[in-house]
Structure formats: C-alpha cells, structure tokens
C-alpha cells in the first residue's frame, strides 16, 4: 500500500490546484492574523474561512482526482493487487496530501499567531473537516459514473453542508420555536459536520458563555469533556461511513 500512497501523494503535490490551495490558505491565514488586532477575533474569522474553503476544495478536488484516475485505477486493477487495497491507497493518498496542504498553508500561521489552546483545536478541526469531505467525495463519485455530473454533485453537497443545511435548521427553529427544541437541535446539528465543528470550536472559545440560556444548554453538552469526545466520535463516523460505503461499492464495481 505504501508505494501507491506515496505515488499518489507525489503526484498530487505537483498538482497546480493543490499548490494554489496551499498558497491560498497560507495567504488567508497570515492575512487574517495580521489584519485583526486581536487574535481571538482572528481565530473566529479564520474559522469561518476554513469552514468555507476547506470542504469545498477537499470535496471538489478529490472528486476530480478520482474521475481523472479512472484509467489509472484500471491499470492498477490489472496488477495483482486487491481492490480494497487500491481504493484504500487512493483514500489515504488523497487524505494525506490534502491534510498536508492544509497544515502547510493554514497550520503554520495558526501555530504562530493563535493562542496556544485555540490553535490546536483549530488545526484539528481543519484536518478533520478535510478528512470528512474527502470521504464524502469518495462516496459521491463512486455512485456517479459521469464526471461532469459527479463534480456537480460534489459542489451541491458542499453547498448543502455549508449553507443550505443551516437554512433548513433556521427554518425548523422558526417552525418549532414554541417547543423546547434545544436538545433536538443539537442532534440535528450532528447531521452536518461543518456545523458540528463550528459549534465545537465556538464552545472552546470564550464566546460560548455569552449565549445565555440556550448557550448554557449547548455548553452543558458540547463544552464538557464527554461532549467533546462524542462530537469527535460523530465526526469520525462522518469520515468512516461514507468511505466504508464507497469501498463496498468499489469492490463490486465494473470498471
């Protein structure tokens, strides 16, 4: 497996899109921290940028790469290698390169500028969000044969998680505002990895305490150690479940 992974990582790292992604994240991070006069505010601004850009690049780039690799995958398949190994190698290779790109781009300025207790979790969230959206890309592209359609679906998925889901959440909130919906809302928010990450970071930052009663309810869950573990467990599920289903499909797929 190592050789294929290494091969893929080497290939991706000579890719211009990944290069520009790294530079973009780097520029954004340095820019945010040097423009904002206080670093907590910088962390919050950067959080928004990360939650917007990282999923988009991760899902779209992974999809395109998978579609472009279809002939290469065939070639690999004609070699004495198990299908599972090929797919897993692709997964690990894409994960590694995108995570590395994020760490090189955003990780360094975050470590330099952000307060130490926030920087760790911010980087962690960036890494996890990358992993989640690469995994979703694997899922969406294996179920769509057509490249154009597949990339369209990838963008739609991003749009859904980044934007539409929150709109839906807001709508539910207005509809059921008469009921005690704080706890159900927390469960609903677990359906979007972006929301989950955002809430988790916010509750690590001081701003959490400002949220009044509702904030207190959320904090009681997300703010505790167990809450953080559960949130992370859910995010891990977001990484593994889409990939697991894509792997199951890949094993039986005709290429």
């Amino acid at each position: 497996m190592n050789r294929i992974v290494k091969f893929i990582v080497l290939d991706i790292f000579r890719n211009k899109i990944i290069l520009s992604y790294t530079i973009l994240m780097s520029a954004l991070s340095w820019g945010v921290f040097s423009l904002e006069d206080n670093s907590t505010k910088g962390v919050l601004t950067l959080l928004n940028l990360i939650l917007l850009n990282v999923p988009l690049v991760s899902i779209v780039f992974s999809s395109i790469y998978l579609y472009n690799s279809s002939e290469f995958i065939e070639l690999l398949l004609s070699q004495p290698i198990r299908r599972k190994k090929i797919w897993l190698s692709l997964f690990v290779g894409l994960q590694t390169s995108l995570i590395l790109a994020f760490l090189l781009g955003a990780g360094i300025p975050i470590l330099v500028y952000a307060p130490i207790n926030y920087s760790f979790i911010l980087i962690l969230i960036g890494v996890v969000i990358t992993a989640v959206f690469v995994s979703i890309a694997f899922f969406s592209s294996i179920y769509t044969r057509d490249k154009t359609k597949g990339i369209g679906i990838a963008i739609l998925l991003w749009l859904f998680f980044a934007l539409l889901f929150d709109g839906l959440l807001l709508f539910l909130l207005f509809q059921f505002s008469e009921y005690p919906i704080e706890v159900p809302m927390m469960f609903v928010s677990a359906l979007s990895p972006i929301d989950l990450s955002r809430i988790m970071i916010l509750l690590q930052l001081d701003v959490s305490a400002m949220m009044g009663y509702t904030g207190a309810v959320f904090r009681q869950f997300f703010g505790t150690r167990i809450g953080i573990y559960i949130t992370f467990a859910v995010l891990m599920l977001w990484i593994f479940i889409p990939f697991y289903f894509s792997l199951r499909k890949f094993k039986k797929k005709d290429l």
């Binding site: 505010k41 909130l173 400002m210 009663y213």
Partner: protein, 409 residues
C-alpha cells in the same frame, strides 16, 4: 464674655482630658466593662485576644481601637457590635461569626440611627451581614475587608448594607462571598469609591431608590448577576470596572428605571451582557469601553432619550440588541470594531453611517436557539444582506458618525 471664655476653656480641657480605657492586663477584663466604664469621647484600647462577649452595645460616642487586630467572636449567636450612638469610631478589629437569622438581620457591625460614625480598617469574616447602616448620616465605612462564605441567597446577608441613610462614604472596602456586596436602598448624597466587590452570590452592587449618589473607581467582578442600579435618579457612575459576570440573567450593569444619570469611562469586559438598560431615560453614556461581552449593550425598547457618545464597542458577540423597532436614543461618534466603512476625507469619522443592530441579534432575541447558528456562513450572509438593505432591523438605530479608531482617553 469672660465667663463664656472660661466655660469654653473648661469644656476644651474636659475634652482634651478625655480618658483612655484599656482592656486586658493593664485595665479592665472585658470590653463590656470597658464600655460601661468609659464616658463620652473616651478611647477604649483593645489589645489582641479572642473576645467572646456576646452582643456588645456602644451607646456613647467612644473610639474603639483594636491593637494587633483583636478578634470579636459572635459565636454564631449574637450580633457582635451594635452602635447606637453617634460619633463612634471602630478601628482595627477582626469581627467574626455573627449570629444568623433572617428576622432581625444581625450584622457584624450594625449602626442604629447613628451619625458621623467611622468604621475603618476592620476585617470581617463569616458574618451574616457585614456592616449594616440604618438611618445613618455622614458615616464613613473605609478600608474594611469583608468576607463571607455564602452559598445561597437566602442564607446570607449583604457585605455593606445601607438603608435610609444620607451622606455616607463607602471607601476602599473589599467584599466577597456575601449576598450583595454593597446594598443601597433609600440612601442619598453618598459616595461609593474604590471598593472591590467580587464573587458575591447576587449583585456586586445593589442599588435602589437612592438618588444623587456617585460610585467611582470600583471594581465589580465575578458576581452572580453583576451590578443592579434601579429606580433611581441622578446617579453618577465613573471609571468603574464590571468584569466576568457570566450567566443567563447576568449583566455587567443592569440599569432599570434610571433617569438623568451619567455613566462615564467605565469598562465592561467579559460579561454575558455588558449593560442591560430597561426603562432608562436621559442617560449620558460616554467614553465607556464594552469589550468581549456576549451582548455589549442590551437596550430594551422602553429606553428613551439616552445619549451614547464616543464609547468603544470591541469584540462583542453582539454590540447591541433590542426587542422593539422604535428607537429614540442617540448614538454619536462611537467606535465599533465591526464597522466596515471608510473615511475618505481622513477626519477620523466614517463616511457612511453604521447600523449596530445585526439581523442575527434580532433573530436570537426572538428565537434564542438560533444561537446554534452563530458564526455560520448562512448567518453571515443574512447579516451582510441586511446591512446593505435593512428591512427587518429598525433603520433609525444608527450611528451617523462612527469613529474610525478606538477612542482613547
């Protein structure tokens, strides 16, 4: 004429010849004995020791001086020191373990209808009420350390409790662990200066029906619900710090039914709501700093004719929220760190007006659960579109001359 002078001299020598009464080896055995032996304007010296004499009543103008901080212990049964005369001075004691009871409000040191009393440099620990002043005038409470270990509102009294008094000076005290740090009800023409009130169960300062007072340079920190100033006219609040008041119904400063007052140069940092205004009228709110609060300023719709001038709003989750649509207050020359306008003529004032009320803050006001979406992309989009075309937020909620830079003094 001559006679008069003689009488005056006589009186003067009388006063000068005021005795000293010592407790301990050099004098009488108990403080009680000393107090009964002393006559007006005597000084009673109390050397270090632990005195458990139940309730001590001071009913003549004497000076009680503790040497090396003698301990007066109420054994959790008695009010320790009851001052029922004017011109008494109590200095240098440690008073502890007063009786507890909600009916007669026993205190460590309680002033009954006393004037010109000075209570200073004492340490008060584990009492029901700390220093209790009722019907007092011109009294001074100065440099006392008042500490209690209350856990529930009903089971503990206030640190410095002033009721129906006038011209008091509360200066340089440190209060913690009481129900309210400082309590003012029907107290007029008084000053609260340089006190530190923190970690009290309810309010750092609780202030009602007390007109024409000033509190200056105090620190109110980590109190259960912050500071409440209510039903009062003519209060001056200058250079105080309101810090770390977290919780659902917690404020840095609650202003309720306040009018014609002056709030100047205060700092509100790290509070759930920096300032909460309800029914306040004609307040000058100037040069204050509101920083790192959940809500910088919560202004209910029943606030009118307030002037908010040159304040700094920095790093708050929401700078301002309100529950209505009618705004009759004036915002001028404040610094808003969320302001995104420009200053072409470089006069330090932004060229386009700033609307400090965000759509999301209005949504959260009506649907608190929406807080879950705080800082999501969705909400940023909503806020931005609302900034460009205000439709749901009142458009007269505006600062026409926002400052480009943080206001420094």
């Amino acid at each position: 004429m001559r006679l008069r002078a003689i009488v005056f001299l006589f009186l003067l020598t009388f006063k000068l010849s005021a005795k000293t009464v010592w407790v301990g080896k050099m004098g009488v055995k108990t403080i009680k004995e000393a107090l009964s032996k002393a006559v007006a304007f005597d000084t009673v010296y109390v050397p270090y020791g632990i005195y458990k004499e139940g309730n001590l009543v001071v009913n003549k103008p004497v000076c009680l001086l503790g040497i090396n901080q003698p301990v007066l212990d109420g054994q959790k049964k008695f009010e320790v020191l009851s001052i029922r005369a004017s011109d008494v001075k109590v200095n240098g004691f440690k008073v502890q373990h007063s009786g507890f009871g909600t009916l007669e409000d026993p205190g460590a040191i309680k002033l009954y209808n006393a004037h010109r009393v000075e209570v200073s440099n004492n340490e008060l620990e584990d009492n029901f009420f700390g220093i209790y002043v009722q019907y007092g005038t011109n009294c001074v409470v100065k440099n006392n350390k008042i500490k209690a270990y209350g856990t529930e509102e009903q089971q503990i009294g206030n640190g410095i409790h002033c009721w129906k008094s006038d011209s008091l000076q509360i200066i340089g005290n440190q209060i913690s662990g009481h129900r309210d740090g400082i309590y003012f009800e029907f107290v007029t023409h008084s000053i609260i200066w340089r006190n530190i009130s923190k970690k009290n169960i309810r309010y750092g300062l609780h202030f009602m029906f007390s007109n024409n007072d000033a509190y200056i340079g105090n620190v109110f920190k980590e109190n259960g619900a912050g500071v409440a100033v209510m039903f009062t006219k003519g209060v001056t609040m200058i250079n105080n710090v309101f810090e770390e008041n977290w919780g659902d119904a917690s404020y840095g400063l609650l202003l309720k039914e306040i009018s014609d007052s002056y709030v100047f140069g205060n700092k509100f940092i790290h509070n759930t709501a920096g300032v909460y205004m309800e029914g306040t009228n004609r307040i000058h709110f100037e040069y204050n700093v509101l920083e790192y609060n959940g809500w910088g300023l919560k202004m209910q719709a029943n606030c009118m004719d307030n002037e908010l001038l040159e304040n700094n709003f920095v790093a708050n989750t929401f700078d301002i929220s309100t529950n209505g649509t009618l705004v009759l207050n004036i915002f001028t020359g404040n610094y808003w760190d969320k302001y995104e306008g420009y200053d072409l003529n470089r006069d330090g004032t932004g060229d386009i007006p700033y609307h400090p009320l965000s759509l999301f803050s209005v949504i959260v006001e009506n649907y608190p659960s929406a807080m879950l979406l705080y800082r999501s992309i969705m909400v940023s989009l909503l806020d931005h579109s609302e900034k460009i075309m205000p439709t749901l937020t009142p458009d007269n909620f505006v600062d026409n001359t926002p400052s480009m830079h943080a206001i420094k003094r």
